[in-house]
């Protein structure tokens, strides 16, 4: 039997249903798992996406694009293939894609996590024959602490900064992580948090979707000699080390990312503090999910696929890495990585 989903130059492709999943080049029909830039790209003719994430997809793909919203669990036919979207617990409106054809069920996980997250619908286990799973943190060293515990650490750091007369600048991804931090911190405070310009719109879209978060205000709205001491600011990683940071001096910097679990990453990126808060599955969650889906064949993609393939094989599960161009959680500063796919060109000749 032919594979229901194959990698191509455009992205993951379902030949039987003639559509792509999260294509990285323009195609006719695109099913989108979530609104992160490496999954939701503009230029395709028609899109399908989960209804709760519709506003985020519009923000990313463009308001003129034709996007068909699907409720979680709602079935649509692409020729002989039945497709439905199921919660992935990654960010607001994130989805796994279930494909059924001639009695075979495949699931493409997109990005997912199993930890509690007040900003999105929890992950749903979808039984399947073949599971295409993300593997961003596919190594046994990655296990997340309770998000509430990490939020407590962030809050403590903020209070320490306040005591020392410092501004606390927390770097985090603008879509998903920022909103999760704002929601988690509600356990500890009701103070206003100040946002970098790249985040204000996305935070508003989350609020419009009914997600409860700390009060926020745009950094740009504040008067010229505003006193930043003791304030918490959220900014994307790319803003770190730029002249934009100067006006907040003296400050302490933090980074909320799963990569902060490892000391080397923390030290290399020269943030004062690292908080291992991730929207991706940790190692125990990856294993648990693979087991719970009952999949007989597992195809890990983007990230540390090799260890996960190794583990599956040790368990007697058929597994092979699937080569795609998704980034997962970018490990390096967005500033250094930029958006291009291959920032280092081969020299001429």
């Amino acid at each position: 039997m032919n594979d229901l989903v194959i990698p191509t130059g455009q992205g993951l492709y379902c030949p039987a249903g003639d559509f792509h999943i999260d294509p990285w080049r323009p195609v006719e029909r695109a099913v989108i798992t979530h609104g992160h830039a490496d999954h939701a790209r503009s230029g395709s003719k028609r899109y399908w996406g989960a209804a709760p994430g519709l506003s985020l997809l519009r923000e990313r793909i463009g308001y003129g694009a034709g996007i068909v919203p699907l409720a979680y669990g709602q079935r649509v036919e692409f020729g002989p293939v039945t497709v439905s979207l199921h919660p992935a617990g990654h960010v607001l409106g994130s989805a796994q894609v279930r494909l059924e054809h001639q009695g075979q069920v495949w699931v493409v996980s997109g990005d997912y996590k199993r930890d509690p997250d007040p900003t999105c619908t929890p992950f749903e286990v979808v039984p399947c024959d073949v599971f295409i799973t993300e593997a961003t943190f596919g190594l046994p060293v990655y296990r997340w602490q309770e998000p509430a515990e990490i939020a407590r650490e962030i809050h403590e750091w903020w209070q320490d900064c306040k005591a020392q007369g410092l501004c606390a600048i927390l770097h985090c991804y603008a879509l998903g992580k920022a909103q999760r931090v704002l929601a988690e911190l509600m356990r500890y405070t009701d103070e206003t948090v100040y946002l970098h310009g790249a985040m204000t719109k996305l935070v508003k879209l989350y609020r419009d979707a009914g997600v409860a978060m700390l009060p926020t205000d745009a950094i740009g709205n504040q008067p010229k000699f505003f006193d930043w001491k003791g304030r918490l600011l959220l900014a994307p990683p790319g803003a770190g080390g730029t002249p934009w940071m100067r006006r907040f001096k003296p400050y302490s910097t933090g980074f909320a990312s799963g990569w902060m679990r490892v000391r080397g990453s923390r030290r290399r990126q020269a943030y004062d503090r690292g908080f291992a808060l991730s929207d991706h599955a940790d190692w125990p969650s990856l294993l648990r999910t693979i087991t719970e889906t009952g999949a007989k064949r597992v195809l890990p993609t983007h990230g540390n696929t090799e260890a996960l393939v190794q583990w599956c094989r040790e368990q007697g599960i058929d597994a092979a890495p699937l080569k795609t161009e998704y980034e997962g959680e970018p490990q390096h500063d967005a500033a250094a990585v930029a958006d291009s796919e291959d920032p280092v060109a081969n020299p001429a000749g």
Binding site: V262, G264, R267
Partner: protein, 531 residues
């Protein structure tokens, strides 16, 4: 252990020098002296001898976690630090016994226990380590395993630790630095003695802190003053050392405060000709036929204790002094260099040593001309020391300058990459570079430094996308990227595949403009030998 782990975490969590100083001061004040002594010992960069080989630790962590050796290996390659890998893997086990914060013993007991494990029965070693691994909280588990592997390094310089202790105890920084030199056995008594305001009895083996030089700006050397204010010497390519003659014995210390006694018997024999109460600063050099021999020859002696007759004949060594720090038991460091030099000359006249010659040059042009000859003479360049300079502790601005000869360079092709360690863990930063020999690429150098962080990240992504094969932690890559490699010298070497060995190779430039086919050939490289 808990307090030291907390200090370690605080030092790790900040890049601010003042915050580090404050954290160390608090630790010295709060920790019991027996623990603080060991804490200080590690802060100064001293290590314990390795108790258990890393391969055995990897086997054990595999047994304890139930992870296959391959998964442990992948994890280690990703994290880049064995102790951290162990701590993370244990922390990721869901069935782990809830760690009791209070149960970890004090640091000095922990060290004693580790030392008692060395050479113990392997089963006892294993059971003890397992018990600790299971009960220690994350930070302490990490430190405990670091101590086991003998690889504990704390992210502060010895100088900063000395400053913190000096501030805490009210002792002058230079005095504290001197007290901390050489060998001392950590104990509560030793720690208390270090903090005593009155000078304590010092061991005769104790060296002085080394005075260090700054690199001179090649573009405008005369910016530092008139040439005749400086005394010029050759910058030798050997091992900097301090030779101490006191109480009828001698000690030879390296700049890294390693005691070199027993390795260089000819130097110890010569030291017997020195009067008691005298300390020389100088260079250990391989010396043949009245001239310095390449560093490679000295290198054959470094690791060898109690060398035999043949070794001594093949690679004869000398100690060439260039400063006199103590004479007749009197500390001369506060005297101007000119006076110390005269005293050194007089001392050499009545002992078996020859001082490093001074170079006669009246102006900067003459000095530059001398420097041009450095490579032919087998030296690294010039040392310029102010004639009126005291012998300072550490790198004192404006007193001593090193003016090195320009490095040699070649263009090489990247052929292998390996992930780095520490802050470069999980980044492919360690490069093997090759030159052309016909149609084949022959590796000539390994380089670990020279690129900016942004370049390293960009290259890491390129390497991952252009990997040909993986050999454990090493990847072979498509031979497309060209780097200009700078190095200090080149020697013919039968031990290397390319037949040459480069001294201090590092990346000078990333030649993104250059196709691989235009990189240097092995013939070009060999032609540099003896230049």
């Amino acid at each position: 252990m808990r307090q030291f782990a907390a200090l370690y975490a605080q030092l790790d969590a900040t890049t601010s020098t003042s915050a580090k100083l404050a954290a160390m001061q608090r630790y010295f004040a709060d920790a019991p002296p027996a623990d603080a002594a060991w804490g200080l010992y590690f802060l100064l960069g001293h290590r314990l001898k390795r108790v258990i080989p890393p391969t055995r630790l990897r086997d054990w962590i595999s047994q304890l976690t139930g992870l296959s050796p391959a998964l442990v290996e992948d994890s280690y390659a990703h994290v880049g630090d064995l102790a951290e890998t162990v701590a993370l893997l244990l922390d990721a086990r869901l069935d782990r016994i809830a760690p009791d914060q209070a149960s970890a013993p004090p640091l000095h007991e922990c060290v004693a226990l580790l030392q008692s494990l060395a050479g113990a029965d392997p089963d006892l070693q294993r059971d003890t380590v397992f018990a600790w691994w299971q009960q220690l909280p994350f930070e302490q588990c990490f430190l405990f395993t670091k101590l086991l592997t003998g690889a504990l390094r704390v992210g502060v310089s010895a100088g900063l630790a000395a400053r913190a202790l000096a501030a805490q105890s009210g002792v002058d920084v230079a005095v504290m630095q001197h007290r901390l030199m050489g060998e001392w056995q950590p104990s509560a008594a030793a720690f208390t003695a270090l903090q005593a305001v009155a000078p304590a009895q010092q061991s005769p083996s104790q060296p002085y802190p080394f005075c260090l030089a700054q690199p001179l700006d090649d573009a405008a050397p005369d910016a530092v003053g008139p040439a005749d204010a400086f005394l010029a010497e050759w910058k030798w390519d050997g091992i900097r050392g301090q030779l101490i003659r006191r109480e009828g014995q001698c000690w030879l210390w390296s700049r890294g405060e390693e005691l070199l006694n027993g390795r260089f018997p000819e130097i110890e024999a010569a030291a017997a000709s020195l009067p008691d109460g005298c300390v020389l600063d100088g260079e250990v050099l391989a010396w043949k036929d009245g001239a310095v021999a390449p560093f490679a020859l000295l290198q054959t002696r470094i690791g060898r204790k109690a060398p035999g007759k043949k070794t001594l004949a093949d690679a004869p060594l000398i100690f060439m002094p260039y400063d006199l720090l103590e004479l007749d038991g009197v500390d001369l460091r506060a005297q101007p260099l000119q006076q110390r030099r005269s005293a050194l000359a007089a001392l050499c006249d009545r002992s078996a040593f020859t001082p490093s010659p001074t170079i006669d040059a009246q102006n900067w042009d003459a000095l530059r001309a001398q420097r041009e000859q450095a490579r032919q003479r087998g030296v690294e360049g010039l040392m310029l020391k102010r004639r009126d300079s005291v012998y300072g502790a550490g790198r004192k601005a404006g007193l001593w300058w090193k003016w090195k000869v320009d490095a040699l360079t070649i263009d090489c092709v990247l052929v292998y990459a390996q992930a780095g360690h520490g802050r470069r863990s999980n980044l492919y930063t360690d490069y093997t570079l090759a030159v052309w020999s016909g149609d084949a690429l022959v590796p000539v150098a390994k380089a670990y430094s020279g690129l900016t962080d942004a370049d390293l990240v960009a290259m890491d992504r390129w390497i991952r996308a252009h990997t040909l094969e993986k050999f454990g932690p090493v990847r072979s890559v498509e031979p497309l990227q060209v780097f200009e490699i700078a190095f200090e010298g080149i020697q013919a070497s039968p031990r290397h595949k390319a037949g040459v060995a480069l001294r201090f190779p590092r990346i000078a430039r990333w030649r993104q403009d250059k196709p691989a086919a235009e990189a240097d050939t092995l013939d070009n490289v060999r032609a540099l030998i003896g230049r």
